[in-house]
């Protein structure tokens, strides 16, 4: 079987001492920062990106992926222990997880979250390995029109399906595309929007925007609105779930994984949709739905599995098509580009060690999470008590050094300060900066593909709807817009009259 041949090859890459070490560092640091109050996964990855500059690309990606699920898992830990979701996808875990903690069963809740995530991770590693290659093969046949339409579909779907105001999200994508234009035009060499600042000739740095908006902006936002946190840590309880717990959880974990994997491949559907969906399903199929909200273990197991499955399957469109399906995947794409790798279907054929090594390391990373997290729960609990006023200066240090060390120019740091201010302004105006980042990453590629497609078609824009594959992407895009945006506009009007 080619699948197993490939997976073996991947494990060969991932199991080298160096890559194992980076995977471990990633998972550990990711969880550590994920547990810390007030720092989401986006800010975590953005802030730690610079640690990977001097690392080979494979190890860098393995480490970043580790940070990603570490941060995700850290979020569940805080949901269970302090009823504070690190991010929206763990909101659901709060409902029953925190109740379990109040009943002295925090240990069991944490364990089942870890086990659920691990099972989901194992299944999804296989899914990525199975569906990645055929998808990349297909994408290799795409020409410029297909690529342009695919990116359009990805961006529209990501903006529309994500949380928040859809129209504003779409507008933020366009603003992101526009920011991607800054710098020398590849075609003509004209310096666009550079205002005679030579540092801008290469464009705005990816790290500058990511760190500025997501780390600096987030800190300003947290300082503006400090939240109360009560830590419920009197008893973590036994870390071993009972046989009864396991029996109750296994079916929800499988269902959650399937649901998460399905939503994972779709762009824009953040892990919160998957975990909410899983919670709803479990409540529906339960014999006694009234237990939910009062510490039902199924309400932790299902959503946590869904959450992790979603996170992992988001790698499929990123690795095979070069399309980021979420903000974190945009960060991963950015990391690839920083290491000089052009994202897209060619990654798999030209850099098989990167693709298969990363896939194998996902499984290893998930295993490490289980092994690492349960014994270290005590450490995570004590980290929760670190006051924010000591934390955020440290985040600033990482952010500042990270931005500066990318190109060793101070201008980048000034620009990041500016984007920090933009970030908080966008937050206040209800414009999510995540779609902006997606647009920014894809902007230059989109312009290039548009230019090429129109050149090949002799300037005839109908090329996008006469090529069958491209037409399919355009039709899906239009369909998403009709189904999702029109009712939203109508609803707003409805608010007025009703």
């Amino acid at each position: 079987m080619e699948l197993f041949h490939n997976l073996f090859f991947g494990f060969g890459v991932a199991l080298t001492l160096q890559n194992l070490l980076y995977c471990f560092i990633g998972v550990f640091v990711g969880t550590l920062i994920g547990v810390l109050p007030g720092i989401g996964p986006m800010a975590t990855i953005a802030m730690l990106l610079p640690l990977t500059y001097n690392v080979p690309p494979v190890a860098a990606l393995i480490m970043l992926a580790g940070i990603y699920y570490g941060a995700q898992y850290g979020g569940s830990t805080t949901s269970i222990l302090v009823n504070l979701p690190g991010e929206t996808s763990s909101v659901v875990t709060c409902i029953d997880g925190y109740q379990m903690a109040r009943q002295g069963r925090a240990g069991a809740a944490l364990a089942i979250a870890a086990i659920g995530s691990f099972i989901a991770g194992t299944i999804c590693t296989l899914i990525v390995a199975m569906f990645g290659p055929p998808l990349a093969d297909m994408a290799l046949k795409f020409g410029s029109p297909e690529y342009f339409s695919l990116m359009l579909m990805g961006l529209v779907a990501a903006a529309v399906l994500a949380q928040g105001d859809m129209i504003k999200s779409l507008a933020m994508v366009v603003l992101g595309l526009l920011l991607g234009v800054v710098g020398s035009d590849v075609d003509s060499g004209v310096k666009r929007f550079c205002f005679d600042i030579y540092e801008l000739a290469d464009g705005i740095g990816f790290v500058v925007i990511a760190v500025g908006v997501f780390a600096v902006g987030e800190i300003i936002s947290n300082l503006s609105d400090p939240e109360e946190r009560t830590i419920f840590t009197s008893r973590v309880g036994s870390l071993y779930p009972t046989l009864q717990d396991m029996k109750q959880s296994i079916a929800p974990i499988i269902r959650g994984t399937m649901l998460g994997a399905f939503f994972g491949v779709l762009p824009g559907t953040g892990p919160s949709i998957a975990s909410f969906g899983s919670y709803m399903i479990e409540k529906k199929v339960a014999k006694d739905p009234s237990r939910f909200g009062h510490g039902a273990i199924e309400g932790v197991a299902g959503p946590e599995a869904a959450n992790n499955a979603d996170a992992q399957c988001k790698f499929i469109p990123m690795l095979t098509l070069g399309i980021p399906a979420s903000g974190t995947m945009a960060l991963m794409l950015g990391a690839l580009m920083i290491h000089g790798i052009t994202p897209g279907p060619t990654v798999m054929t030209q850099k098989p060690d990167l693709f298969w090594g990363l896939v194998a390391s996902m499984w290893i990373g998930n295993l490490m999470l289980v092994v690492l997290n349960l014994p270290l729960v005590g450490l995570w609990v004590s980290l929760l008590k670190v006051p924010y006023r000591l934390l955020f200066p440290a985040i600033m240090v990482f952010s500042a050094i990270g931005i500066y060390s990318a190109n060793n120019i101070s201008f980048d740091v000034y620009l990041a300060a500016l984007f920090g201010v933009f970030g908080i302004a966008w937050r206040i105006l209800g414009c999510s900066p995540v779609p902006l980042l997606l647009g920014f990453v894809l902007g230059p590629m989109m312009e290039e593909n548009l230019r090429r497609a129109l050149q090949v078609s002799n300037g005839d824009p109908s090329v996008f709807v006469t090529q069958p594959i491209s037409l399919a992407f355009i039709m899906v895009t239009v369909l998403i817009l009709i189904v999702m945006v029109l009712p939203a506009v109508r609803n707003r009007r409805g608010d007025l009259t009703g």
Partner: protein, 150 residues
């Protein structure tokens, strides 16, 4: 009824988008637009600017009718101090070296919080500065002089 739009979220969101879009279109006039067959450097930004303005107008119009007010709190102190300490860091990195730049950054950002205890911040500054020097300069081998210009 008059002037009620001034604290409306969507009004300002729309205005922000229109501002960016108009600026982009205005600046992009200086770049060759070209044609669909041969897209010039001005083609893509001009079109994006136009779309952005359209979105801005749409959001503004819908917002004026529904009218969600701005409710988010904003700490002016953090808004000014945090970016400022970043700028100071960048400036000192070039002029004075790694240690002074970091100390200024840590002290400046700590001062942007609400609870400011002088001794604690001093200690934090010392600890973080030394720890970062250890991690980044000696650990990761970043080539920055600790102190410059003497």
């Amino acid at each position: 009824m008059k002037m009620t739009f001034l604290n409306k979220k969507d009004f300002w969101a729309g205005a922000m988008l229109i501002g960016f879009g108009a600026a982009a279109m205005f600046i992009a006039r200086g770049y060759r637009f070209g044609s669909a067959l041969r897209m010039g450097p001005g083609f893509f930004p001009t079109i994006l600017g136009g779309i952005l303005i359209a979105f801005g107008v749409c959001i503004m119009a819908l917002g004026l009718r529904s009218g969600e007010k701005i409710q988010e709190k904003l700490s002016l102190r953090a808004l000014v101090m945090l970016p400022l300490s970043l700028v100071l860091f960048g400036f000192l990195m070039e002029k004075a070296g790694f240690l002074p730049a970091l100390a200024a950054l840590v002290f400046g950002s700590a001062a942007s919080g609400r609870e400011f205890k002088f001794l604690e911040v001093l200690l934090l500054t010392a600890v973080l500065t030394v720890a970062s020097a250890a991690l980044f300069i000696w650990g990761l081998g970043l080539p920055y002089p600790l102190i410059k210009g003497f």
